[in-house]
Amino acid sequence: MRTGKSERKTVGSERKNAGLGLNNVRLEMKISLPLYKIAYSLCFTVILSMIRGVILTYEIGISMEAPMALLALVFCADTYVQEITGRRSEVWRLYPMKNKLASMALRMGIQEGMLFLLSAAGYGMFILIQRPLSLYTAGESTENEWSMFLGFLLAMFVTLWFWGMFSAVLSCLLRSQWAGIGCGLVLWLVTNSTFGKAVLGDWNLFSYTFRDIENGGDLSWLWGKALCAGLCVIMALLAPQIMRKRG
């Protein structure tokens, strides 16, 4: 007969053993990062760093934010919807919501991680391929290259999360990857425009792109990124309901 303590220990180890552990990261990577997705995202970043001309280093972030957001929009659209197109969603419906959400969070994390690394690598490719001039080195700016790069990473982290999550949630809601991408594209076009800049100002989803580049100390673009982060939280809270109703 088991003692209370040993029973608790067994239940604990069973819980640890059940569900989506670290071992599943490998499987989720195989599911959410097929070869074709890695190939097109790599090509996209390399080509972008080659054809989008930059003269000064602070232009790299401006050149990358919106295109990488577009890449995230396409890249993450199938996060859940592949279960619908693969006709597995009816089986998924029987799984506990906690496990489904854990799996989706893992897939999003893997994809966003990949896009984030790609953005960082893309920044480096811009420097290597186009050799832009540094205003800091020339003594015309107080913002050094590293702080500029960290600012870029922070902005990209939020931007990629927002656009990736937006397309994944929207695709699930509309039960179509293409509908999700299409609707996302409309928002992308509206916000990434002079109209969007004029109307939304610092609260624009692309506030980093539209920031005052001549004033390195101006951090008002963080409002736009805070809005993106807030919208991500709202989408994360809505995800279980959307999966229940539309999954």
Partner: protein, 294 residues
């Protein structure tokens, strides 16, 4: 475990009624669901798996009423093999089953043990390291069945599980389902009559969203007895003529031309002999009962 369906109605957005005020009770063991394409079998199964919400009526599983609040409790008890399912093409068979087992919340060790057992039972052990996209249609079907069995559900719903299987595998799967159905309920939907004859003692026949029959196989055959006739025709042309007058349940070439089985209330006006009804005859009899004039 028993499932009770009362006055169930399912209507789609385009006003098509897929299930029309249907009543059914599914007891333990294997229960067959037979019907032509579009009869409403898959719709019924989608209601039972909580995928579809009915427009009216009530469904209960072991006394638990189907409603939003009870869905998680019900979903835990169900295993489902849909008619079509594309399992993860980039994963190997073993990985795919481990992944789906983990999603079900099965402890890893137990999951691996069950995967080993069911791979053996479905003759897939030697293919476990192959990617899902490399498997044949029949192998994928068997893999789909394993994912449904993995959580050892109290209520297993299988939609045409033997599609694409060769005769030997068909028998293997039927035997597996018979073993599995001990102390459990298995709803086995198919339009392959032979499968049901081999495994079910109880069945329901559906047509246009209604149950034409529900009960024991024996009773169905007893009802059909006396309405099945066999005769011989010299060639296909004569057989065609006969088809215009009677409901033909089967035609087979034989030494004497063509052996034909007819469904008729009265003895046909040709040289024929009464025959023992098969489930196929019974299905046609039930299906066309109202239009049988003779």
């Amino acid at each position: 475990m028993s499932i009770k369906i009362k006055d169930l109605t399912v209507t789609f957005k385009n006003n098509v009624t897929a299930i029309d005020h249907a009543d059914l009770e599914i007891p333990g063991g294997i229960y067959g669901l037979l019907g032509e394409n579009g009869a409403g079998k898959t719709t019924l199964m989608r209601v039972l798996t909580t995928v579809l919400r009915p427009a009216g009526g009530a469904v209960s599983l072991d006394g638990i009423i189907y409603c939003e609040g009870n869905y998680p409790k019900i979903q835990k008890k169900i295993g489902y093999l849909p008619q079509e399912i594309d399992l993860y093409p980039n994963l190997t068979l073993q990985e795919c089953l481990e992944y789906m087992g983990a999603l079900s919340g099965i402890p890893k060790d137990k999951c691996r043990e069950r995967i080993r057992y069911y791979l053996e039972k479905t003759n897939l052990t030697q293919h476990r390291r192959k990617k899902m996209r490399q498997l044949s249609g029949g192998m994928k079907r068997r893999a789909g069945l394993i994912q449904a069995l993995l959580s050892e559900p109290e209520f297993l719903i299988v939609d045409e599980p033997t599609t694409g299987l060769d005769p030997e595998e068909r028998i293997r799967i039927r035997n597996l389902l018979v073993d599995f159905s001990e102390n459990r309920t298995v709803l086995f939907s198919t339009h392959v009559v032979e499968d049901l004859t081999a495994v079910c003692s109880q069945l329901a026949v559906m047509k246009k969203g209604k149950f034409l029959y529900s009960g024991s196989m024996k009773e169905l055959l007893r009802e059909t007895a006396g309405h099945v006739w066999t005769c011989h025709m010299a060639d296909e042309r004569q057989a065609r003529e006969l088809e215009r007058k009677y409901h033909v349940s089967s035609k087979q070439f034989s030494e004497n031309g063509m052996e034909i089985r007819l469904i008729s209330r009265e003895r046909p006006e040709i040289q024929c002999a009464p025959a023992q009804p098969t489930l196929e005859d019974a299905y046609i009899y039930i299906d066309r009962r109202s239009s049988l004039t003779k």
